[in-house]
Amino acid sequence: MSELLKYIIRFILFILVQVFILSHMPPLHRFVTPYLYYLYILWLPFSLSRMSLTFIGFVFGLCLDYFLKTPGLHAAACTLIAYVRPFVIGMLISQEGADKNYIAPSFVSMGWAPYGTYVLVLTVLHHSYLVLLEWMTFGSFVYFVGKVVASTAVSLLLVLLTEALFFRKQKFRTNTI
């Protein structure tokens, strides 16, 4: 399957899962909102330029927004993590050159600890910005902190499950290409 087609199918699947499964789950607590959709941005290939990465983040977030009737909310958060992503990757794998040898970030291509840190940092960033924007309209500081912590925990669990269920094979590419 061509890479482009794979990413288009993933785009649609992530939005449908977020809209029709995760948003329809009965609420456990008002702090817990299960988010998984932003994993799409974390899985985008290394080779994308920063500008197109930011743009894809914006379009992806806006698509979700129109389903959830919150135009701009998720788009803003997705644009932020898509913009910050190259900096985080650059910090975590400066020596090994994995971004040349592999296609996309994963446990295999980056190693366990750097990939875990990468997911954690972007998850916290995404949730903080999202809840901050919500917080401007209502809620208190306790609401802000509680929701960021609880949602991050649930999201990390979901990311872990997704990574375990849908293991992405990563081919090692030599430098001769």
Binding site: H24, R30, L68, G72, A76, Y83, T137
Partner: protein
């Protein structure tokens, strides 16, 4: 000038990011303020189609509960039929017709299928499969078989978006059934199984379990539609009012059908009130 171009060239990624952020935030804040978002009309039509597909599957799992709610509603309406009331004397039978002949129609109902519904988000909306072509307009009330559901805030050709009672900006004036005291019903955003009501005077004789119904003061709903029952009475010590926590009568998690309420006289009422305001000034 050359330096300006150089600056743009060097920071093109960051500037692009800033532009997209500004676009996203302007969408967000315009939407919260006026409930009019860019492209929302078009997108409602597209997302509505997706929601309809999904609902056609999900609907089967709710059939039992939907049926029960409709039977309960039918039962309530049948109880009000004229035939149930027998006059004591067979010579002089008094018929109380449900609609008086000289009455003027104020409310018109349209049934609508709910194709999408959320309860877990901080601001919840429903999508119904009836739109501009079928006569749905903004600011119409929406009720369900069990009680009030929300109000229409955006309409496309065949779909409409309803702001649920479980939305922090939803407000409706309701009254206690027993005493008739008016108060404002709103959602505090904490739990989808409770809504709040404020400005009930302390003189009101209210106990847990009392019924709260819509008041005739609001132009969104007809009077005496179920809103909920009192679950807890919280005295507000800074004022002379009670705050009530209500259990909404509508079960928002499995709502499949709703009725859109068209107030045929709302234009006239609004015109009169506006013109009065002008006269007084």
């Amino acid at each position: 000038m050359r330096n300006a171009f150089l600056f743009i060239r060097r920071h093109v990624n960051f500037l692009f990011f800033l532009v997209l952020q500004i676009i996203a935030l302007s969408f967000l804040f315009r939407y919260n303020k006026f409930h009019e978002a860019a492209f929302l009309n078009v997108s409602t039509e597209v997302t509505g189609r997706f929601n309809e597909r999904y609902n056609s599957i999900e609907y089967y799992f709710q059939l039992k509960k939907t049926n029960e709610a409709l039977v309960q509603e039918n039962l309530r309406l049948r109880q009000q039929l004229v035939d149930n009331f027998e006059a004591p004397d067979s010579n002089k039978r008094l018929f109380r017709d449900t609609i008086r002949v000289d009455s003027v129609r104020k409310w018109q109902l349209m049934e609508a299928k709910v194709v999408n519904n959320t309860i877990a988000l901080p601001a919840n909306y429903l999508t119904i499969h009836r739109g501009f072509r079928q006569g749905v307009r903004q600011n119409m009330g929406v009720t369900g078989p069990q009680g009030i559901v929300g109000s229409v805030i955006n309409v496309s050709e065949n779909f409409a978006i309803v702001m649920s009672v479980l939305h922090p900006q939803f407000r409706v004036v309701a009254a206690l059934k027993k005493g008739g005291e008016n108060g404002t019903v709103y959602w505090d955003g904490i739990s989808p199984s409770f809504i709040s009501m404020r400005n009930i005077p302390r003189s009101a004789n209210v106990v847990v379990g009392d019924t709260v119904m819509t008041s005739q003061v609001t132009s969104l709903f007809p009077a005496k539609l179920m809103v909920g029952t009192v679950a807890e009475i919280v005295p507000d010590n800074t004022s002379n009012f009670y705050n009530l926590r209500l259990r909404p009568s509508t079960n928002f998690s499995n709502i499949e059908y709703a009725y859109v309420l068209d107030n045929l006289q709302s234009d006239e009422q609004k015109r009169l009130e506006d013109s009065t305001r002008k006269k007084v000034q």
